[in-house]
């Protein structure tokens, strides 16, 4: 998802490196019928953007998951959640 978000930000002419985009991720593994299964993945982004780009970055965060092949591949079995904070430099 981070790579896809990077692409969505690049399309809006928002640079993502160096050290402008990162994410903290939690994958929740629960006992489901006696098996340890991944049931939910939660992604929290941190994005640094140039002045005036905050709204575009928030829009990219909002919609990017639809274009993420990894997330779309697993979301039928694992709930995917995400949010992000955007700071203008």
């Amino acid at each position: 998802m981070t790579g896809t978000l990077a692409g969505a930000l690049a399309a809006r002419k928002i640079p993502t490196q160096p050290d402008r985009l990162s994410s903290e991720v939690e994958g929740f593994i629960e006992n489901v019928d006696g098996k340890p299964l991944i049931t939910r993945i939660k992604v929290h982004y941190s994005v640094k953007v140039p002045p005036g780009k905050r709204d575009e970055a928030l829009r990219a965060i909002q919609i990017h998951e639809q274009g993420c092949p990894a997330s779309q591949s697993v979301r039928r079995g694992i709930a995917i959640e995400w949010d992000g904070e955007v700071v203008e430099e």
Binding site: T2, G3, A6, T16, Q17, P18, D19, R20, L21, S22, S23, E24, V25, E26, G27, F28, I29, E30, N31, V32, D33, P36, L37, I38, T39, P69, A70, S73, V74
Partner: protein, 64 residues
């Protein structure tokens, strides 16, 4: 759903081009993701360094 057994914690850092690093909690060496093969062609990118994609890692993890 069921009782929580474990929370997998990972930090992802975006590098140049399609390259990302994933730091899995308690393990100092990152797993690196990028593009190659059909995925590289699909996205029309030419990376400085070819690396396994996140999809490769999903496949490997399921099979592993």
């Amino acid at each position: 759903m069921g009782d929580l057994i474990h929370v997998s914690k990972v930090r992802i850092v975006k590098d140049k081009g399609p390259v990302r690093r994933a730091y899995i909690e308690k393990f100092p060496d990152p797993v690196r993701y990028g593009v190659h093969g059909g995925i590289k062609k699909f996205y029309g990118v030419e990376p400085e360094e070819e690396l396994p994609t996140t999809l490769d890692h999903i496949v490997a993890a399921v099979a592993g």
